[in-house]
Amino acid sequence: MLDDFFTRALLAGIGVAAVAGPLGCFIVWRRMAYFGDTMAHSALLGVAVSLLFSFNLTLGVFAVAALVSVALILLQRRRALSSDSLLGILSHSTLALGLVMVAAMSWVRIDLMGLLFGDILAVSKLDLAVVYGGGVLVLAALIYLWRPLLAGTVSEEVAEAEGLSPRVTQFAFMLLMAAVIAIAMRIVGVLLITSLLIIPAATARRFAATPEQMAVVAAGVGILAAVGGLLGSLNYDTPSGPSIVVAALVIFLISLVPLGNRALKGGQKP
């Protein structure tokens, strides 16, 4: 069954979406969308560095994304520049640096479009193992960190005073994000990873009364988008990343259609 490239892509997409949904909820709650984008863009630099040193691609992307997030946190503490300026600088300079390095390495043949926008043909059995092995690890860590992470999201002050360690947890969360970016890169592409994190979470908001419900619904929405997008990608020969994002957008737009009061048990005001 796994010999069929499309089955592999489908399974990989489902695996990535199941992890990206719950993690994306925290990105939405903590208003870190641009932060996630910056980390994702640095993935291309990770690819270039891995190729240069003949290093494992997934580990290289993970390491560079994690380093960029640490650099951001340290630079933010200095407060010389505002956060969005810093993010803008790092986001685009890491992307540009990656592009320049990849282009300069004339001895490696590389599918740049596949890296930027994802490529369903590129999913190997090894990739599949990485998606599910890494995905299970990330989800397990997220469940383990759930309470302190959520408490720190609601109020760092309260979490700290009541003996949780919100800063340590936040750092662990950055590592999880770096891991998801490394895992998701093959399917969605560097440029579009953030949307797979954010759109399903934003879609789920309306159907959830608690954070836990929102995480589960976001995973479901993400899986739906991955399956729909990959089917579209196969049918119309479009790159897999944009197809999945378009599918997610369609689901998001459908979710905006007003429903009766019974469907809005979340209790939020319209």
Binding site: S155, E156, E162, A202
Partner: protein, 303 residues
């Protein structure tokens, strides 16, 4: 340590006993000559403070006087740069923040908020909400609460964790005057019933003074400390807050002798009418030494 929390709901039937603090019990937290040095200056220095079970200690002082810094030393967030701090082993702290802005993208029911930092049995949650007078809000979304309801829910959340020490950072922000009095009465009742120590931070002298056992008056150092009456009578306190502030204690010991008129003025027991009941508290910009905390200009809407 088990506390009979299930009965917290009948709090209101118990008489208020303000001054029966257990002066001999081992302290929950004890600071001795403690100070915090940041960016080339002492934020606060030479703080001696002891909080025992069932004791209400209030920190008062002007903006930037080191109240929050002192509280952060007591909760263990900050380690003193000089002096010593001793905290009872496995001290459970319940913290009520000044304000809390929860992003609307985060769906959160009141009952889920109650289990934010640790698990709490459903009975505890219900009893705590009932004690704070917001039992009916258990299933509401936090985004739909009014400011006063939300403050009560935050207080209930802190006590649902069965803390040994309750720390409240200006807990009456955004609550109207009557709510303010009720809030301090509630804190006193909770102390009586649960037996937890209470550390209150306030720049609002009046109501607090009547509901506390020990007052510590800060201005970068401890200006004066002791019972509310002694502090109010002291020279240091008068020079820090002005002579009128001293009258506040006597006044608020009999706080129910006035009514608030619809136009915002205050009618007193003797029939006189004034613009405010505590004029010096009318407007104050308020900034903390702790820059990480969201700033908030407040007080203008009160009383």
């Amino acid at each position: 340590m088990y506390k009979p929390f299930g009965k917290i709901a009948d709090l209101h039937e118990r008489p208020l006993t303000m001054l029966d603090t257990n002066r001999t019990a081992a302290p929950l937290v004890s600071l001795s000559g403690a100070g915090i040095f940041r960016n080339g200056r002492w934020l606060v220095r030479g703080v001696d403070m002891t909080i025992r079970p069932a004791e209400i200690v209030t920190l008062i002082g002007p903006n930037g006087s080191g109240k929050s810094t002192t509280a952060r030393m007591a909760t263990g967030i900050l380690r003193p740069d000089e002096g010593t701090i001793s905290r009872r082993a496995a001290l459970r702290i319940g913290y009520v923040p000044q304000q809390l802005a929860i992003d609307r993208s985060l769906p959160l029911t009141v009952s889920r908020l109650m289990r934010l930092t640790g698990p709490a049995p459903r009975d505890n949650i219900r009893a705590s909400l009932a004690a704070a007078g917001v039992a009916h809000l258990e299933n509401a979304q936090v985004h739909d609460l009014s400011g006063g309801e939300f403050q009560r829910v935050l207080l209930a959340r802190a006590i649902a964790q069965e803390p040994d020490l309750l720390v409240l950072d200006e807990p009456v922000q955004g609550v109207d005057f009557n709510g303010e009095v009720a809030m301090y009465e509630l804190i006193g009742k909770i102390r009586d019933r649960v037996g937890c120590g209470v550390l209150l931070i306030s720049h609002d002298l009046h109501v607090v003074m009547a509901a506390t056992d020990t007052v510590i008056c800060l201005n970068g150092h401890v200006c004066c400390s002791g019972s509310p009456e002694n502090v109010a009578a002291s020279e240091e306190y008068r020079s820090l807050f002005g002579a009128r502030a001293a009258e506040a204690v006597a006044f608020y010991r009999h706080q129910h002798d006035h009514t608030h008129l619809p136009d915002g003025r205050v009618k007193h027991a003797d029939g006189s009418i004034t613009e405010h009941c505590h004029p010096e508290d009318g407007h104050h910009d308020h900034a903390h030494e702790d820059e990480a905390r969201p700033e908030r200009a407040s007080g203008g809407g009160r009383a």
